[in-house]
Amino acid sequence: MSAIEILGLEKTYLVGFWRKRPKRALLPLHLQVEEGEIFGFLGPNGAGKTTTLKLLMGLVFPTAGTARILGRSWTDPEVKAQIGFLPEQPYFYDYLTAHELLDYYGQLSGVPGQDRKRRIEAVLARVGLTDIKGLHLRKFSKGMLQRVGIAQAILHDPKLVFLDEPMSGLDPLGRREVRNLIEQLKQEGKTVFFSTHILSDAEALCDRVAIIDHGELRSVGAVEDLIASVQGKVEMMWQGTQVPASLKALGAECHVTGDAVRAILAENQQDAAIDALRRERIRLIAITPLRTSLEAYFVEKLQSSPAAENTLGTAVGTKA
């Protein structure tokens, strides 16, 4: 059973005061997230990440489409007992203390009385909030609020956790702690769905990612697959200082360092290159597939979309 199945969810807003014009925040989205994986939902600001999360949480009603969470309809209130949600830039009742807030949320999530106290202490320790008894939330810093947010998302031990920009407002140390926490959650068998625009985090943590831009899904897949599928370059190193003519003809970049040559060429040229070297009886030292970063993939994906031309066009248009 998939943890999340999004079946064509879409959302169009009507904006404007008198004459309402449609604004498509999310085009029909089809996505599946498996149980036990860490899934990254990536996209630039305003891409539709938060809209998708709000749709899944039932805070906003879709224009069309449905979704299933843990096998049940996303509107089923009972399924909410099994999920946790951290909204973007969370704001909590500032007249409560963290303990009171978590107690309230625990009550609403149906955590039984005796359990609650114990769990609250445990979860606060886990997110690194100590020594805050009696301190009202209005006195919390941004980073502290973020930790409280994560705490309330995992308090009731949900099977599936949704995090919207979990790293925002945290210093590097805090970000590392959250990364560790997310990994721990995976080890506990939970599914984590988090949205972010910080790609290094996604690259480090996620099993699979989806990239969304201007409300449209651009690609989905395992991180390595995505990266590899795009560039697919290899670096070949051979002995000597010669560069066979046929290799030059392939358009490889060659550098001579010491008594070895390094050449970078496309993956599909690999076999031709090996043949060329063999014919010349040149000794091959190594062939290394080149990895690129997710960031490069991301930028390339976004720029290659037809929306990119539109962005430039509409950017001028909307400013007028």
Binding site: F61, S73, T75, D76, P77
Partner: protein, 308 residues
């Protein structure tokens, strides 16, 4: 959207049901507390205090008190009450708050002056109210009419009535009947035609339901009185001609060359008694008749007819 769909349906159902229930309960409550606003209204019976308490929203308060005055009268009249003690204060407060609320003066003229159960029986206060109104609305001929009306109907002071109508006739844009009424008062005060003229004028110049119904009742009663007077005069003439009383109404009608048996405004034939008196069949249907009633007749509860 399934689960939220059912909540929506239930909420809509609750809304409809509770709305209906509210209306029903309110109607129930109305029966328990019919004098409601009135009791509240009159804990402050001094116009000055009310004026101060209304914080400058005099006009609105005047409208509210005016509504209460009409409700008060209507309710009590409907229940055949015999006293309307609060009517004068209510109208006084109304006109203190808004001296230009003409309908209040008209209501006062029609219902403050008459004796109970048709009014409060306070013609002097009615006169006071009219004079107050005239003082604040010197360009309104209707107030002079009301003044003359009170003098004529209740105080039977035909001289003052005539004066009032004459004063009113001087006002620019006065209705032509003002001059006519002044003349009528002076010469033919006690006649049916004068009374009819007056009540018809009231009917023509008022839109308020209670006043109109009252005027209609008076006109009906005048017709009865007139008919009875004429018929009894006919009986006398018959007696002078034949030396005996007519044996029946049809004989009288034939002798007078009337088209048929004379009927009252409700269509019921007049009754000729053996002593030669003419009676109306149902005296109770005509609140203000002074003739055509059997000896020892006591009027029962006054009521307004709705037929004109």
């Amino acid at each position: 959207m399934r689960s939220s769909g059912s909540a929506t349906v239930i909420a809509a159902f609750c809304l409809a049901v509770s709305m209906a229930a509210c209306v029903l309960v309110l109607r129930h409550i109305d029966q328990i507390r019919p004098h409601a606003t009135l009791d509240d209204a009159l804990y402050i019976s001094s116009p000055k205090i009310v004026k101060r308490a209304s914080l400058g929203f005099d006009g609105l308060m005047a409208c509210i008190y005016w509504t209460r005055a009409v409700q008060y009268f209507g309710y009590r009249h409907h229940n055949h009450e015999v006293s309307y003690n609060e009517l004068a204060p209510l109208l006084e407060i109304t006109t203190a708050l808004d001296p230009q609320l003409i309908p209040a003066y008209q209501f006062g003229a029609n219902f403050l002056a008459p004796r109970p159960p048709w009014g409060a029986g306070q013609p002097d206060r009615a006169i006071q109210l009219m004079e107050y109104g005239i003082a604040h609305n010197s360009d309104n001929w209707q107030l002079y009419y009301n003044l003359g009306f009170v003098y004529y109907t209740e105080l039977k002071d035909y001289k003052k009535a005539s004066e009032a109508f004459a004063r009113g006739a001087e006002v620019p844009n006065a209705h032509p009947f003002m001059r006519l009424l002044a003349a009528q008062m002076a010469e033919h005060a006690g006649e049916f035609s004068t009374a009819r003229m007056l009540w018809k004028a009231t009917l023509d110049t008022n839109r308020e339901t209670n006043i109109r119904q009252n005027a209609i009742e008076h006109l009906r009663s005048i017709k009865v009185d007139e008919d009875v007077t004429n018929l009894e005069a006919a009986v006398t003439r018959f007696g002078q001609r034949t030396g005996r009383l007519p044996s029946s109404m049809s004989e009288l009608a034939a002798a007078e060359h009337l088209p048929g048996i004379p009927v009252d405004p409700d269509g019921k034939p007049y009754v000729l008694t053996s002593e030669g008196r003419v009676l109306v069949q149902n005296p109770d249907d005509f609140s203000f008749i002074t003739k055509g009633t059997p000896p020892g007749y006591k009027p029962s509860a006054a009521k307004f007819h709705t037929r004109s």
